[in-house]
């Protein structure tokens, strides 16, 4: 099952790709991508449903709530690589079209 590659989804994927093995917090991704919670979480949920993202609960410090952590699965990393290729190909196509028209 593929994920629709909206600009917001691409931003989230980029945020994960910086250090793909690192577990990330939702707020951290939100700050990195500039997406609000209302946009970010549906993307994370869809990614998790498609097994592109793995989640875990951090053991919280005393007096602070346990936080949810996210990381790309191997399938997720593969998907990011493929989507980057697709985007690169689209970019090249657009440049070529521009040159041809110019």
């Amino acid at each position: 099952m593929k994920l629709r590659l909206s600009p917001q989804t691409l931003l989230v994927l980029e945020a994960f790709l910086e250090e793909s093995a690192v577990w990330r917090y939702g707020y951290e991704i939100s700050r990195g991508s500039g997406l609000k919670s209302g946009t970010l979480y549906p993307i994370l949920i869809r990614m998790e449903e498609r097994r592109l993202l793995e989640t875990k609960w951090e053991s919280g410090e005393p007096g602070r709530p346990a936080r949810h952590l996210y990381r790309l699965t191997p399938d997720g990393m593969q998907f990011v690589r493929e989507s980057r290729l697709v985007q690169a190909a689209k970019g090249l196509g657009a440049v070529a079209l521009g040159e041809a028209q110019g």
């Binding site: 609000k36 979480y41 549906p42 949920i45 709530p65 346990a66 949810h68």
Partner: protein, 180 residues
């Protein structure tokens, strides 16, 4: 925790309570993250976004759960109807089988009476009772007993028609003796 943040926290906590199963985990994740959002108003915006996500997810999951439950009931009802239909069919088949047997016996008796009028079968009432009622009834009762464990609705159908024929005979004799 500031006033605005505490309001935001309460709003998300309340919304999180409505989500079924998996939605609740995501709601808890957004609620936990709210504590770390910098700035009071940013926390409120985070909360409002989270509530939107929770409401949408919960709505979708409730719809999915309700439709799954409805499908389950539908399957159950259809299965029940199938079973009922099969039972009714067997019951009717049993009753029709008995009726056919009685009609065959009656036809044989009529043919014998027409073919061999010298036997005087038409005048002998006991022959009618024996051939049309008693022998078919014995056959039916034996058949019903044999079918009782194998195809009970069929056996019940046979027994019901035997009872109907028996009642008819009893009423016939009661009427006959009452006239005398």
């Amino acid at each position: 925790m500031g006033f605005v943040r505490s309001i935001a926290h309460r709003m998300v906590a309340v919304a999180a309570g409505f989500g079924p199963g998996r939605s609740q985990e995501w709601a808890r994740a957004m609620l936990a993250e709210l504590e770390f959002v910098e700035g009071e108003w940013e926390a409120l915006w985070w909360a409002l976004g989270s509530i939107t996500v929770i409401a949408r997810r919960s709505g979708q999951e409730w719809i999915r759960l309700c439709s799954a439950e409805m499908r389950r009931w539908e399957r159950l009802a259809m299965g029940q109807m199938d079973k009922m239909g099969k039972k009714t069919g067997l019951l009717v088949a049993g009753a029709l089988g008995t009726a056919v047997l009685v009609m065959i016996a009656f036809a044989l008796l009529y043919l014998t009476a027409v073919t061999f009028p010298q036997l005087g079968i038409e005048q002998a009432e006991w022959t009618h009772i024996l051939v049309v009622i008693v022998i078919p009834a014995i056959i039916c009762l034996c058949g019903a007993a044999w079918l009782w464990r194998r195809k009970r609705p069929l056996a019940v159908g046979i027994l019901l028609s035997v009872v109907a024929v028996g009642t008819h005979v009893v009423l016939h004799f009661a009427h006959h003796f009452a006239r005398r």
